[in-house]
């Protein structure tokens, strides 16, 4: 019996031996061993890239942020870290700009998320009808999503311009005086929210539409037999049927709203962008983070703002959970 020491190429064509066929040549035993190793190890190798990149560039920075926030670090000397304990946090707590940015982030978040998701729900309902040209409508409402933040913010900044902007011109047709969209707090926040709403409503509508199409039809038939009107069917069948997707979009929009940055920055036009207007009237936490780190060169403070944003997210989700529980109990 000749024993060859050359390993056969893996998966030699035509070498169809059922695994574990127990014929005991060296070659086969080795390839069985290789095969077993492959089955055991390959899955981990396939999922490894994701976890490696995530650990290195997302998870580790997030943890390290909390460490940096306990230090004084200047942008110009990143390798010099001076331990200051919780000083950054107390300074942030006493800083009016922080509370202002927190409140702005919250109000712009509500102003942009609530109408956006409600309109997306209505839009999805309309798209769920049997339509002529349904592809056109779907692509049309999704187009804003493919517009870059920069471009969208530039266009809307111009539409909201005080003296010659189209929106003020339209309002003047119905007798409303020019609104100073940039300098009045609520007007500026409304304008910024409009950019967010414009970009994301269609996207969310498509998510809802997909979920709506998966709602079993017999539920509607049952509701119709019970004499439910179209509107009641929408409330009693459609909305509960896509609850999971609604929760998903609320989570995504909340994360997005917490980190709002590009829209207010560009709306603020240049040098004033990072302060969020002359009186910080639309400075969000994202802008404050950038200002602390890259305008005031205080990386430790920037890290503190980032960590505060993270805590804010956790608090918001906790509140959402509580609200969900309460609503479920009342239902």
């Amino acid at each position: 019996m000749a024993i060859s020491t050359s390993t056969p190429p893996d998966g030699a064509p035509g070498a169809a031996h059922p695994a574990g066929s127990g014929s005991g040549t060296e070659d086969q035993r080795r390839s069985t061993l290789l095969h077993r190793l492959d089955v055991r190890v390959a899955p981990y190798a396939f999922v490894a890239p994701f976890f490696v990149v995530f650990a290195a560039f997302s998870f580790y920075p997030l943890i390290y942020t909390s460490w940096i926030s306990l230090h004084r670090v200047e942008l110009s000397t990143l390798n010099l870290m001076e331990w200051v304990g919780f000083d950054n946090y107390t300074a942030l707590w006493d800083d009016d700009r922080f509370w202002n940015a927190l409140l702005n982030t919250f109000t712009i978040g509500v102003l942009s998320t609530v109408p956006q998701l409600l309109m997306a729900l209505g839009l999805a309902h309309l798209l769920n009808y049997r339509l002529r040209g349904s592809t056109f409508f779907r692509v049309a409402v999704l187009t804003p999503y493919a517009t870059s933040v920069g471009a969208a913010a530039l266009v809307f900044t111009m539409l909201f311009e005080r003296d010659f902007g189209m929106i003020n011109w339209m309002l003047s047709l119905v007798g409303v005086d020019n609104i100073d969209w940039d300098n009045s707090k609520w007007a500026a926040q409304t304008a910024i929210s409009t950019i967010v709403i414009w970009r994301w409503t269609g996207y969310n509508a498509l998510l809802y539409l997909a979920a709506m199409q998966a709602v079993p039809r017999d539920r509607y038939e049952a509701a119709a037999l019970d004499g439910a009107s179209r509107w009641q069917q929408f409330l009693m069948v459609t909305v509960p049927g896509i609850r999971a997707t609604i929760v998903f979009t609320i989570v995504l929009s909340t994360i997005g709203a917490t980190q709002l940055f590009g829209e207010p920055l560009i709306f603020g036009q240049g040098p004033n962008g990072v302060t969020g207007g002359a009186d910080n009237q639309y400075q969000t936490l994202g802008l404050l983070l950038y200002e602390e780190g890259w305008k005031n060169y205080q990386m430790g403070r920037a890290a503190t703002v980032a960590w505060a944003m993270f805590l804010l997210l956790i608090v918001v989700f906790a509140v959402q959970q509580v609200v969900k529980r309460v609503l479920a109990r009342r239902a």
Binding site: S31, R130, A140, S148, G202, A210
Partner: protein, 314 residues
């Protein structure tokens, strides 16, 4: 060996289960070709006139700002800043595009954005398909826990780590360089989940088993069995990732500067000038969005399909 010679008995005969069909090219032919099929396709009431009017308004609102960008970019500054504002395109489009191209250094920005978005989209698709295949069809210890971890990572906003990330990149000597933008986004949890959902349904277990019986190792199975089947969702994932990478703003704005920007970063330059030529700003905005719009006009239907497929938990 090719997958075609493997006899597949479709034990799973659900209506409209995707098997042989999905091995065609990535360009769907005809209506209703979906990546996933669901039993009970919602309601099929016909739309009344009110629905059409409302949808028309929604489409108008969605498209008008882009149309107006084009109008403003094709007039001159004095005309744009008059009231009533112009509603029809003027004669200066190419001239303004050329000026904006130079003023905002858009040439370099476009190239940078193409590289960044292209590399990120490619690597996302590759790693998502690999991981998605493992999660969908391979058995290994801790599979469910790891999958939960992947989904959990969606809740961690990557931007919160910008401070240490900036320090890391400075240390690596990547400040103002494209790798600083590319590396943190080489993978995507949404992508992994999306591919897993698709492959769970579209890839019959028998095919993987047959490959095993023929002695093919996992990578070989991935290459000759999984990839041909996964082509349609890979194309969709590529496009969606490309859009996101092209539009990413916060991190590139921090780590790149005006000497080496991506498109959204370069566009901020347009709004920062004290002498503000509105029609040039709009020309720049138009240029910055053009590549995505072209992709959308050509592949809009597939992108819509992809977003809808990814939304539904299988």
């Amino acid at each position: 060996m090719t997958t075609d010679s493997i006899p597949v008995r479709a034990t799973d005969a659900r209506p409209g289960s995707v098997q042989k069909k999905s091995r065609k090219s990535a360009t769907p032919g005809g209506r209703g070709r979906q990546l996933f099929r669901h039993p009970g396709a919602g309601r099929q009431h016909h739309a009344g006139p009110v629905a059409y009017i409302l949808l028309g308004i929604a489409a108008l609102f969605s498209l008008f700002p882009l149309y107006w960008t084009m109008v403003a970019a094709s007039t001159d500054n004095t005309r744009v800043t008059q009231t009533p504002p112009p509603f029809l395109p003027g004669p200066h489009l190419l001239e303004n595009l050329g000026k904006a191209w130079q003023d905002a250094a858009l040439g370099k920005a476009m190239l940078n954005s193409l590289i960044v978005a292209g590399v990120i989209a490619l690597s996302t698709v590759l790693f998502a398909t690999l991981a998605g295949f493992a999660f969908a069809k391979l058995r290994f210890k801790g599979r469910n826990i790891l999958l939960m971890l992947v989904i959990g990572t969606m809740l961690v906003p990557p931007q919160l780590g910008v401070v240490p990330l900036f320090m890391m990149m400075t240390e690596l000597g990547w400040g103002q360089q494209l790798p600083a933008v590319i590396f943190p986004t080489l993978v995507s949890a949404v992508g992994v989940f999306f591919m897993r959902q698709y492959l769970s349904e579209a890839l019959p277990d028998e095919l993987v088993e047959a490959g095993r019986v023929d002695g093919a190792h996992s990578l070989r199975i991935f290459w000759s069995i999984v990839l041909p089947i996964a082509r349609p969702p890979m194309a969709v994932l590529f496009m969606i990732t490309f859009v996101h990478a092209w539009n990413d703003f916060f991190w590139p704005f921090i780590v790149l500067d005006m000497s080496n920007p991506t498109v959204p970063v370069a566009l901020t330059q347009l709004s920062a000038g004290y002498v503000r030529d509105q029609s040039l700003i709009m020309a720049g905005a138009l240029l910055g969005t053009l590549p995505l719009l072209v992709m959308f006009i050509v592949f809009g239907r597939q992108i819509v399909g992809g977003i809808m497929q990814g939304a539904v938990k299988g």
